[in-house]
């Protein structure tokens, strides 16, 4: 392991320890799990579709809660380092500012994955007791895509936190995350009603803002099996490769932007 990779890992691991030991993550998971766990008893009129609908909602709630946790964690990293002055002893060690930033990013993603893993453990347990079949490969793919989404969201928040204060970074990231689908639909709709310059602007906007909803396959996973018949199969490998590349490109782009702003910032 090179010194640079080791530094990134050590900084990331510190953040994971913090997430592990803070009670907030457990509280979020516990409260959400109680709500979601109640779905175990949703079997009105023995209509399986109703149960599926609730499970779809449950997965959405878990995805949004995990993303919110990642947004809050990422947005607070740098301000907290400055407020507690821990950035000074850390950067006084043989650590570059790039390693510091990537280490923090890795830590936030690992903490997000940790939170999501707790959620998935609850979901899989509840689902197993319901004995409602899902296409396992598709479900695992949806979990993988969610992790990719977390990395895009975390890198975006790091970039925003370089130019905005904590509250503004959290608010803007939450808006971009929550209204990603609406934003995508709206730009597609507006495209036909604007002039050529407007169309260029909308296309530029579509590329500038990552399409978060591309990483959400939870509904497909929940509805993958209907009356014993698989209606949504696992995605082909090329789709996963393309989405991995898409997530990596945006994460790298946002982190590079954050690094450019952080590289010469007086501390």
């Amino acid at each position: 392991m090179t010194a640079q990779v080791r530094n990134v890992f050590l900084i990331g691991r510190t953040l994971l320890y913090e997430a592990w030991r803070r009670r907030e993550v457990y509280a979020i998971v516990l409260i959400t799990s109680i709500i979601v766990g109640a779905l175990r008893f949703v079997h009105f009129f023995d209509i399986p579709e109703l149960s599926k609908f609730y499970r779809e909602i449950a997965l959405k709630v878990m995805n949004v809660t995990t993303a919110a946790t990642v947004i809050l964690l990422a947005a607070r990293q740098l301000p907290r380092e400055f407020a507690n002055r821990t950035i000074y002893p850390l950067l006084a060690k043989p650590v570059s500012r790039l390693e510091f930033l990537v280490g923090k990013f890795l830590g936030v993603v690992m903490a997000g994955v940790f939170c999501y893993a707790l959620f998935m453990a609850v979901f899989v347990t509840v689902n197993a007791t319901l004995q409602v079949p899902v296409e396992k490969s598709l479900f695992l793919q949806s979990v993988y895509l969610q992790i990719l989404q977390l990395s895009v969201v975390a890198s975006l928040v790091f970039l925003l936190s370089m130019v905005l204060n904590t509250d503004a970074a959290i608010t803007l990231a939450a808006i971009l995350y929550l209204f990603s689908q609406t934003f995508m639909n709206l730009t597609s709709y507006l495209y036909d009603y604007v002039d050529r310059v407007g169309q260029w602007f909308l296309v530029a906007l579509m590329y500038a803002v990552p399409q978060i909803t591309l990483f959400d396959a939870s509904a497909k996973a929940v509805h993958s099996v209907n009356r014993g018949e698989t209606i949504w199969h696992a995605m082909p490998a090329w789709v996963l490769y393309a989405l991995t590349g898409y997530a990596a490109a945006y994460s790298c782009l946002f982190l590079a932007g954050a690094y450019l702003l952080f590289r010469r910032r007086p501390l």
Binding site: R6, L10, T14, E18, R85, P89, A92, P94
Partner: protein, 253 residues
């Protein structure tokens, strides 16, 4: 630049910009610290001590001038490998244990894990954090304990040069005594020590040389013996105060 100099600062100017205006924190500071020297950096609040030290660590970038540590530009990884740095009072990661924090900083300083296992208990004992304090979460530490932990993290890699910003802030008299003992041991072993402090008696007890800064400019750079000779019966504090007053009135110290 002299190869024997560990710290070399030439014409350092540091400006803080807020919008279109700029405040000058350091104005043309020039000094050097030779290998094995123990130098105290004194000055009133807002004199430019922390800004100078931050420029030495690469935390901020000089508006003008040059800062070299071990012949490398300030902030270079190669020079940071040989430095132990203690910032002003820091609140370390509350959800780490004392030993974990030292493992983190030691790891970042490329100290082998086997060496860390040996060194951490001894170091904690040395800075007065024995009796299992290292196994507690840092959030249960007092301010003084956090400062002791800060001293331990600065010493974890047995660096050739120590740079301390506000040496004993947050420490009680016992802590100050322990720290002085640790630093005198390191000085005897040949370490280069540079620290800023408000406490003149601390400077008197530890230093070979004293550099004073006032309003961003170097007020004097003298050996301790020469400074004590100048101060004679007036005492170091009174002498320092008279030099500051003379500079404020437009004279030369």
């Amino acid at each position: 630049m002299d190869q024997e100099n560990v710290i070399d600062i030439r014409g350092l100017v540091v400006d803080y910009r807020t919008g279109r205006s700029a405040t000058r924190a350091v104005n043309g500071a020039t000094f050097s610290v030779a290998r094995g020297e123990c130098v105290g950096f004194i000055g009133p609040n807002g004199a430019g001590k922390s800004s100078t030290i931050k420029a030495m660590m690469g935390f901020l970038f000089p508006t003008k001038g040059e800062v070299r540590i071990f012949g490398e530009p300030a902030g270079a990884v190669e020079s940071k490998l040989r430095i132990g740095y203690l910032p002003e009072v820091t609140l370390y990661y509350p959800f780490l244990k004392g030993t974990e924090l030292l493992e983190l900083y030691g790891g970042l300083h490329r100290v082998p894990r086997s060496r860390l296992r040996e060194r951490i208990p001894t170091l904690l004992e040395e800075v007065g954090l024995g009796d299992g304090a290292g196994e507690r979460l840092i959030r249960t530490y007092s301010k003084g304990m956090q400062q002791r932990l800060g001293i331990a993290q600065a010493l974890i890699a047995e660096p050739e040069c120590l740079i301390f910003d506000e040496l004993s802030s947050g420490l009680d008299p016992v802590g100050r005594h322990d720290l002085r003992k640790v630093l005198l041991d390191l000085k005897a072993k040949g370490a280069t020590i540079f620290f800023s402090s408000h406490e003149l008696y601390e400077v008197e007890a530890l230093c070979d040389r004293v550099i004073a800064i006032h309003r961003g400019e170097i007020l004097f750079d003298k050996s301790l013996d020469s400074l004590l000779g100048d101060a004679s019966d007036a005492g170091l504090e009174n002498h320092f105060m008279s030099l500051i007053r003379r500079r404020d009135e437009g004279g030369t110290p």
